[in-house]
């Protein structure tokens, strides 16, 4: 006598359990419209967080009487004594810091671009004058989906810097406060 074709009870139970598990995992992990937007915003926010950290580091080492902000184009410009992060200041014999150039963070074409304008020779603070006019070409784009950048002296010696990034129709604002100790 032929045995009827089919599955055992255990097979069915295991199959149902795995099917339900697959369904839940696929529901959670398959790329949906909302997940795509979230991912895009997360990436933009991470980029902005790294940029904000770099701005904080550079601004903290600047001179509080040589920080300039503009609204059109949106920019943050300040004096720098180091062309890169890992060098100490140099000094003149009278104790003045040897400032080496200006750093500018400009909002250009939806991006945050960093410009560096060095002096031919280091200068004391009393001789640096006004910042140069930064060209809209060149520079290094460090945030690719920028909505706005703003900075203001929120308290004596303390500057508040905020970046707003946008991705896929959403925006997120990130802010930091920096104490600029050098006069």
């Amino acid at each position: 006598m032929n045995r009827p074709q089919g599955m055992t009870l255990m097979e069915v139970v295991v199959y149902c359990a795995l099917l339900s598990l697959f369904s839940v995992m696929m529901f959670l992990t398959l790329p949906t419209r909302q997940n795509q937007a979230t991912l895009a915003l997360q990436e933009a926010a991470q980029e902005a967080a790294v940029a904000l950290r770099k701005i904080s580091q550079e601004l903290a080492n600047s001179s509080r009487s040589h920080v300039v902000t503009n609204k059109d184009p949106q920019s943050l410009v300040f004096l720098s004594a180091v062309p890169s992060d890992d060098r100490e200041f140099a000094y003149f014999s009278d104790g003045a810091i040897a400032w080496t150039g200006w750093v500018a963070y400009l909002a250009q074409d939806g991006k945050l671009v960093r410009h560096w304008s060095p002096y031919s020779a280091p200068l004391a603070a009393s001789k640096v004058g006004l910042p140069p006019s930064f060209q809209t070409r060149g520079g290094q784009a460090i945030v690719k989906s920028l909505s706005s950048i703003s900075a203001a002296e929120s308290a004596p010696k303390v500057w508040s810097v905020s970046l707003t990034v946008a991705a896929d129709g959403s925006q997120i604002e990130m802010r930091t406060a920096v104490e600029v100790r050098n006069p």
């Binding site: 697959f22 992990t29 503009n70 140099a90 002296e153």
Partner: protein, 414 residues
């Protein structure tokens, strides 16, 4: 017969399901990895901030101890912060041991802050022991020549308290020792000390007879009074205003006003009640002339520094500093510049021009401080000195932060 094939095929669903499960697990692991990386980045940032704060805490402690005792040396072992797992260690470096070429008589303090995760941050500070760099605005008025007429007066207030509480800390100073360098006509007053140059001749706060035409550095007429007169131990140094290049664009502001962005310009003229609105930043003008009730308005509470090369004429206009904080509006007058000030109701500003001439008249009320070569006050002009300027000078006039026995020249996050 199909029976053996069924037996062989039994359980194939389970294998297929397990294979699909494996594929999906890889997908989940991929997304999870991204999240884990973000979490690690956040943790590294947090540890970095903790280490930075530990390093700064170490410097604050070391500077405090050095102020009290210049022979203090930080311990050679790590110090643990209270209520924290972070530690710091400060290195006292001088001469060739310092990582930088130090200015004369300076030392380098390197503070290393270490988070419990092992991540560390460093802060480097250059200090000068024994020297003091004072605020350039310790005096209400400092000039080579000062004359008060027509009921003019100088007093003080504290911007932290408010402009309505009058104080008597409005010190007036001069490096000059020539007779009559400071002249006070009848009805004028200075609510504070007067300090003259080393070797100058001083008199009484309220002399019984006029000291005009005497050898005194301060000439006081009838009914003029001040605080005590004394001589300074050494002359006060006021660095000249460095010449900056003005721009070529002149601004002519009419009745409808204009917003002016920071930058260098030629002549600024405002007429017909026009309002010139300035925001935070540095401006350079060849000259400024306010006529016909024009107004110079500082918008917001960001500091504004205005360099004037030739002439500052506000005799027919007003200045309005919306923040009501003098340190937020600083006029820097270059050598040879002339300024005619009128304050209107309340002009909150600092005027710094050690080689410039300033005249104030017609009921001017200036809240802040004035440094010039020659100052003339007539017609009831008043200067109300902001005592907070001595404690917290504006950055462009403060020099290094200072305290008794110690001067911090620079502060750098490494």
């Amino acid at each position: 017969m199909s029976f053996p094939r069924i037996r062989q095929n039994r359980g194939v669903m389970l294998v297929m399901a397990l294979a699909l499960l494996g594929v999906l697990w890889f997908m989940v692991l991929g997304f999870a990895r991204s999240s884990i990386q973000s979490l690690r980045l956040a943790n590294v940032n947090l540890a970095s901030e903790r280490a930075l704060h530990a390093a700064e805490a170490g410097l604050v402690v070391t500077l405090k101890n050095l102020k009290a005792d210049p022979k203090y040396r930080p311990p050679k072992t790590s110090v643990k912060l209270m209520n924290s797992a972070s530690t710091y260690q400060v290195f006292y470096l001088e001469g060739s041991a310092a990582p930088v070429k130090l200015p004369t008589d300076a030392i380098y303090l390197l503070s290393k802050g270490i988070d419990r995760s092992g991540l560390y941050r460093e802060v480097g500070v250059v200090i000068k022991l024994g020297g003091t760099s004072q605020s350039l605005l310790n005096f209400a008025v400092f000039s080579s020549s000062l004359s008060l007429n027509g009921g003019s007066s100088i007093d003080s207030y504290d911007s932290k308290v408010g402009p309505n509480v009058i104080g008597d800390k409005a010190s007036v100073g001069t490096n000059s020792t020539k007779p009559g360098s400071i002249e006070m006509a009848a009805g004028t007053s200075i609510r504070g000390e007067i300090q003259v140059g080393p070797g100058g001749v001083v008199g009484d706060a309220r002399p019984s007879r006029p000291t005009t035409k005497t050898e005194n550095t301060v000439w006081k007429n009838w009914n003029a009074w001040s605080g005590a007169e004394s001589t300074m131990a050494q002359v006060q140094e006021y660095p000249p205003v460095e010449a900056l290049a003005a721009g070529k664009v002149d601004l002519d502001v009419k009745w409808n006003g204009k917003d002016v962005e920071p930058g260098a310009y030629g002549e600024l003229k405002a007429n017909g009640g026009g309002e010139v609105r300035l925001t935070g930043g540095t401006y350079v003008f060849e000259s400024i002339k306010l006529n016909g009730g024009a107004k110079l308005t500082i918008v917001g509470d960001q500091p504004v520094t205005i360099y004037v090369k030739d002439e500052l004429d506000m005799s027919n206009g007003t200045v309005y500093n919306s923040s009501e904080t003098p340190r937020n509006l600083i006029f820097m007058l270059e050598k040879g510049a002339e300024a005619k000030l009128t304050g209107g109701a309340k002009a909150f500003m600092v005027v710094y021009g050690p080689e410039a001439e300033i005249s104030m008249s017609g009921g001017t009320h200036l809240y802040g401080a004035v440094v010039a070569d020659e100052i003339s006050m007539t017609g009831g002009a008043r200067i109300h000195y902001d005592e907070d300027l001595a404690r917290t000078p504006p950055g462009v006039l403060g020099g290094g932060s200072s305290s008794k026995g110690l001067s911090v020249l620079s502060w750098q996050h490494l």
